[in-house]
Structures are given as C-alpha cells and as structure tokens.
Symmetry: C2
Subunit: 147 residues, 2 copies
DNA sequence: GATACTCGCGATACCAAGTATCATTATGAT
DNA sequence: ATCATAATGATACTTGGTATCGCGAGTATC
C-alpha cells in the first residue's frame, strides 16, 4: 500500500483488483495514476511514454484491464483512430469536437428502445450498440451571427 | 473498356472515375470486381490476397477511393476491428450479428434530430454521428421458447 | 498510329497499435 | 520466512495501413 491519499479512480481500481483476486503491483499503481492524470482521451502508446519505468506491454495489458473493469472506455475519433478515456460507469456515448478533438460524455442514452425496435424489424435481437457523435464545441465555433 | 457486362457497382465506379478525371486502370477493374464479389464485410488485406496480381498498396488505395466515393463503407466490429462493406449510398447504419458476424444495413436513420438536441444541450453543433448496432440474427438465436 | 505527359502501379520500407512469448521478479498466501 | 504463481519487461511478432519512388500504363494530342 502506498501512503498518500490517491485519486478516487486509483483507489477504486485497487479495490477492484483486490476484490477480483488480482495482484496490486507497482506497475498497476503507476498506470492507474497516469490514467487518472489524463484530461480527455489519450493513446495507449502516449501513456506508455509517460511511464518510462513501466514496460509498454504492461501498459497495454493494464489499460485493457481497466477497460474490462469499466474504469476506462474506448473512443472512436472521427478519422477512425481509437483512443482511451476515463469512463463514467454504465452505458454512455461521446460527443467529440471535430476541431479540437475534445470529447465529452453524453450520459443517459435513450436510444435503446428505438434501436431495439429497428433491429427487431430485421429479425435481430439487439444486444448493444456503439454511438459516437461528432460536432463542433462552442470554443471551436466561429461566433454565430446573432439575429 | 472491357467487353463483358459488369456488375453495376463496377460500372458506376468506372463512371465515377471517368467523371472525376481518374484513370481507369486494370488494377481498378480488378479491385472493383473483387469488392463486388464480396458478401458482407471484408478486410482489405483479405481482398489483397484474392488479387495476387495487384499490389497490396494499390488495393488499399483503391478501397480508400471507393470509400471516399461512397461505394464502400467502413464497419466497426464488436471487438473493435474495422472492416469494409459495399455501401448503400447515403447515411445508414449497420446491424451486426455478434455470433456469425453477418452485417445488414439499417437504412433510414431517424436519430439526427434527437442527437442534434442532445448535442445542443452540451453546446455542441452536431455534424455527424457513427452508430453500429450489435445483436443476434435469427439464424444464430436458439429457437426462442414460444409462449 | 505514334508521341508525350503524367497518373497510378508495385515493391519496399515504414509506421501505429496491439498481442504473444518467455525468463525473471515481486506479490500475497501460508 | 517460504513458496507458488501472477505479473512484469524485453523482445519479437502481427495486423492494418501509409510514404516513397522508379517504372509502366492511360489518356490526350497530333
């Protein structure tokens, strides 16, 4: 155990590790703390570079673990690249600015029943969906001409 | 020009090439015909392997061209892999069976206004969205117990 | 049909993101 | 303190795609 008060994300991750019978290692503290430091989305490789003391493979392994545990989610950028991002638990989507790349969570998805019906029309039993919304945030928009 | 009657996809692609001042080359015929042969989604590399006479880079270049022209679209599989697929023109989504991987087009997207509103709540001007729906097709579903 | 201009091709090398392998080490249970 | 083994780090590999560049094939012009 490390002394100082940690970011809540780090603490919950460690709790989940202990609860799940995973070992709490130095590398895991380091990765969790690095993830907690991120603002917005980040690439796994970039995170690895922030952690010269931790092997690249280990960074990838632990990000994957955090994705599986729901602490981190994947974000699909407009150009098709995949990034990671601290996740609100539960189902949600992202609003991604196509200019500055900033991404915001879109909580409370109400598409499920709509899509369920559409899927049923095709004789599919819907199990889930993935949605990313692209747009331009206030800061990246030329001041719209008011009336 | 090649003699035989071609698949409509191939013909429209060639038309668009000519219209856009692109050259109509042997490699482009080959790629277009190979794409037209595909059922469901396919990987660019797999297509390249079907075309030993055509360079890998050329296959990728021409798939990209067909994506830009709207003849082919990208499909995001449940596990995060990207595939290509013959596209219905215009905005649409996919219904992907998480069991057999089969994908069907979901035409007529009516989410735009909903999402536009949700984005506006976050002070974003929505420009587009990407949606994939995952489920289980009739064939991959254990016969549901009728009442 | 011959000429020339240049786009597109193929080979190759490269890149980015992620996974497999495996000997070594540190963790947590006893 | 000991021990079994999960996790690590180094490295090689894989997958999917892009950049480079000399060469050859398309197309327009004569």
């Amino acid at each position: 155990m490390i002394a100082k008060k940690q970011h809540p994300l780090v603490e919950s991750f460690v709790d989940r590790l202990e609860a799940g019978g995973h070992r709490v290692t130095g590398a895991r503290w380091a990765v969790a703390r690095a993830v907690a430091r991120q603002r917005g989305h980040f690439a796994a490789d970039a995170l690895a570079q922030e952690l010269p003391g931790v092997g690249r493979a280990t960074v990838f392994r632990n990000i994957k673990l955090m994705v599986e545990m729901g602490f981190v989610c994947r974000v699909l950028l407009g150009d098709g690249r995949l990034r990671y991002q601290i996740s609100h638990r539960g189902h949600h989507h992202h609003l991604i600015c196509s200019d500055c790349g900033r991404s915001e969570d879109l909580l409370g998805c109400d598409l499920d029943s709509i899509l369920q019906d559409r899927a049923a029309d095709h004789d599919f039993a819907m199990e889930g969906h993935w949605l990313e919304v692209y747009g331009r945030c206030r800061a990246c928009r030329p001041q719209e001409a008011a009336a």
